[in-house]
């Protein structure tokens, strides 16, 4: 079985994010980390591989400039078998649709039975990529999985919702996205780090995938950032001093704002 995991390079989650007022795009210098949500996807794929045995392979795929090698290396150190890196200046400025289109090209070229994604990335936080990817690949998309299992060519998953979960089933191939409740991602071991050195990473260009430059990048983006503004400073707020009824008063407050 061929499992593909999508991974993304994101700005360091502990640093403040900044939007460049001129380009209206996120300042991406100094970004160095693997999207934390993707670690759960990698872990889910690795656990599946451990269960299914040696013929199962885990390939990570990313669309990133050269420095994306860092996150690829971490995924390989965790235990993925190989990596595809779509590195092309033409990809710059792609919105979620363009990214999904390009990744779908790379994944289709590689071949897959199952694509595992994190629910969202910590920079854009749209959560739309897994759905768009399923659409472009022409396979079922099962998002927000908190648990899934494979039985032959049947995929069973529990899909998290606001009020509980849905039990859903589909056939393979498919795309799933997994939430943080699915597992506890492993830390790479030193052996894994050393082994990652010799694992193959294939770098691809848009031309390698037969993707027209006009289909991706800033020019093809279906969404345009019109404006951006600093988050306003925190305004008026109420402090609830707990005199035995603190919990109730907070709940009443939330109810009054229709948040509960």
């Amino acid at each position: 079985m061929k499992i593909v995991v999508t991974v993304k390079l994101v700005p360091d989650t502990t640093a403040d994010k900044r939007i460049d007022p001129a380009t209206k795009r996120l300042v991406r210098t100094g970004e160095t980390v693997l999207n934390p949500f993707d670690e759960y996807a990698i872990e889910a794929a690795l656990q599946l591989k451990e269960k299914l045995g040696a013929e199962t392979t885990v390939t990570v795929v990313t669309m990133a400039p050269e420095r994306g090698k860092e996150v690829v290396r971490k995924a390989l150190a965790m235990g993925a078998d190989d990596a595809l890196m779509l590195s092309d200046p033409g990809c710059e400025g792609s919105d979620v649709m363009g990214t999904a289109y390009a990744l779908a090209g790379a994944i289709a070229k590689n071949g897959f039975d199952l694509v595992v994604c994190g629910t969202q990335s910590t920079d854009a936080i749209t959560g739309e990529l897994p759905g768009a990817l399923a659409e472009f690949l022409g396979v079922p998309g099962l998002t927000y999985g908190r648990k899934f299992e494979i039985d032959g060519t049947t995929l069973r998953a529990e899909r998290e919702t606001d009020s509980g979960f849905l039990k859903v089933t589909t056939g393979l191939p498919a795309v799933v996205s997994v939430t943080k409740s699915i597992n506890e991602p492993r830390y790479p071991s030193f052996k894994g780090i050393m082994a990652a050195k010799t694992k193959p990473t294939t770098t691809l260009s848009l031309a390698d995938l037969g993707i027209e430059a006009s289909a991706v990048g800033l020019g093809a983006a279906a969404t345009v950032v019109v404006d951006s503004a600093e988050r306003p400073a925190r305004g008026e707020h109420a402090v609830v001093k707990d005199e035995g009824d603190g919990g109730k008063r907070i709940a009443d407050f939330l109810v009054s704002r229709k948040l509960l």
């Binding site: 290396r73 492993r186 830390y187 790479p188 071991s189 030193f190 052996k191 050393m194």
Partner: protein
């Protein structure tokens, strides 16, 4: 580390990709898994079995050992980097790893027979089991001549009697081995003949006391060990008979680099916490970090941490390159432990009253730092060693 020795004193300290990847992995683990627990562990004094299990899975206990013994095939420098990153947030976890590897497993790896290595290393390098080393006794640690524990060989078995004091990792539920030094006879010139013997845990006659109440390192397991007629096979002699103390001293040479790394981690943790606090804490209408008195304190702390780091990187590079490193290791341990104490004192000062509250990380660092000048060779011993290496008269 690319320990490229190009000349008498030219070293390249830049971490290669693999060491850097390991360092950042442990940094992440320390920040996300250890730091949030450190204050509670310090307060309860409970040994963190779950964190030790996570560290085992990451392969930290096997870092400097070859794969044939269950190790990670890394080197001693990799171990030092891991220890430094752990100590940046918590010394108890860091010393648990340091002692388990340097004192527990390393003597078996360095001096063990094939059978001893096969028996012990696979469990110790995977962190499935932990080993301890008992040298210090209630009547003396620095002075080997004060060793009173005796091991008597009789009909193919050693019979051991004595008491060991302050033994790290002696009483955890994972502890399977305590290597002890013991007098095994009279050596040349009437001096005691001291040897090392492997004592499996449990063994009849072997007992450990309840943990000491310590000033710091609260979540590290430290106990007194009693041996009352403990009988082990003759084959449990570790290394040559009569070389017990000498062998242990050579283990300490490299152990000093690891303790220096631990001290650097603590010293750096003091910088991290002070930068954070000085940026937030307001006094006289501005963050205290805007005042030069505080800025200079923190700048000095950072300089000390950095210099001490260079000192241990240098000692490690020499060791990996197969060069003499005894003097540099002693210098690194001496300097790093003393600046760790200084940084902890200054960080506490910067935190004002909060710095004196036990839940403040810097208060913990302060209590944890002092032992660094005592364990694995006191500061006095390091100076004696350096003086000897300098060829001073009377040394």
């Amino acid at each position: 580390m690319t320990a490229r020795v190009t000349g008498a004193s030219e070293f390249d300290y830049f971490l290669d990709d693999e060491h850097e990847a390991l360092r950042s992995t442990v940094e992440e683990f320390a920040r996300d898994a250890v730091a949030p627990r450190a204050a509670a562990m310090d307060a309860s004094g409970e040994f963190p079995y779950d964190l030790v299990a996570s560290m085992s899975k990451m392969g930290l206990f096997g870092l400097p050992f070859p794969e044939e013994y269950g190790g990670m095939g890394g080197d001693y420098f990799a171990l030092c980097l891991a220890i430094e990153e752990l100590a940046r947030v918590d010394s108890s976890v860091a010393i648990t790893l340091e002692a388990a590897v340097s004192l527990g497993a390393m003597p078996v790896f360095r001096f063990g027979t094939d059978e001893q290595r096969k028996e012990w290393l696979p469990q110790l390098t995977t962190g499935e089991a932990i080993g301890a080393f008992g040298l210090t006794e209630p009547d003396g640690g620095t002075d080997a001549g004060a060793t009173r524990t005796r091991a008597v060989l009789d009909a193919g078995t050693w019979r051991i009697d004595g008491t060991k004091a302050f033994i790290t990792n002696a009483g955890t539920t994972l502890t399977r081995l305590i290597t002890v030094t013991a007098v095994t006879g009279a050596g040349e010139g009437g001096r005691k003949e001291i040897s090392s013997v492997l004592v499996p845990v449990p063994s009849p006659g072997l007992s450990v006391a309840t943990p000491y109440s310590k000033v710091g390192w609260h979540a590290s397991d430290t106990r007194e060990v009693s041996l009352a007629g403990v009988v082990v096979p003759e084959a449990n002699l570790l290394g040559e008979r009569g070389r017990g103390f000498a062998n242990f001293l050579s283990i300490l040479d490299e152990g000093r680099i690891a303790i220096a790394a631990l001290a650097v981690g603590l010293a750096q943790g003091c910088v991290d916490e002070s930068v954070k606090y000085a940026s937030q804490r307001q006094a006289f209408g501005a963050a205290i970090g805007t005042y030069q008195a505080i800025q200079f304190k923190i700048a000095d702390m950072a300089v000390r941490a950095h210099t001490a780091r260079l000192a241990y990187h240098d000692a490690a590079a020499r060791m990996l390159a197969g060069k003499p490193f005894k003097k540099q290791a002693a210098m690194a341990k001496l300097y790093a432990s003393e600046i760790a104490v200084t940084n902890a004192r200054e960080a506490t000062q910067i935190h004002g009253g909060y710095g004196f509250m036990n839940e403040a990380p810097v208060a913990r660092f302060w209590r944890d730092s002092k032992v660094l000048e005592i364990g694995e060779g006191t500061s006095e011993v390091q100076r004696m060693l350096i003086a000897r290496e300098l060829g001073l008269p009377g040394t």
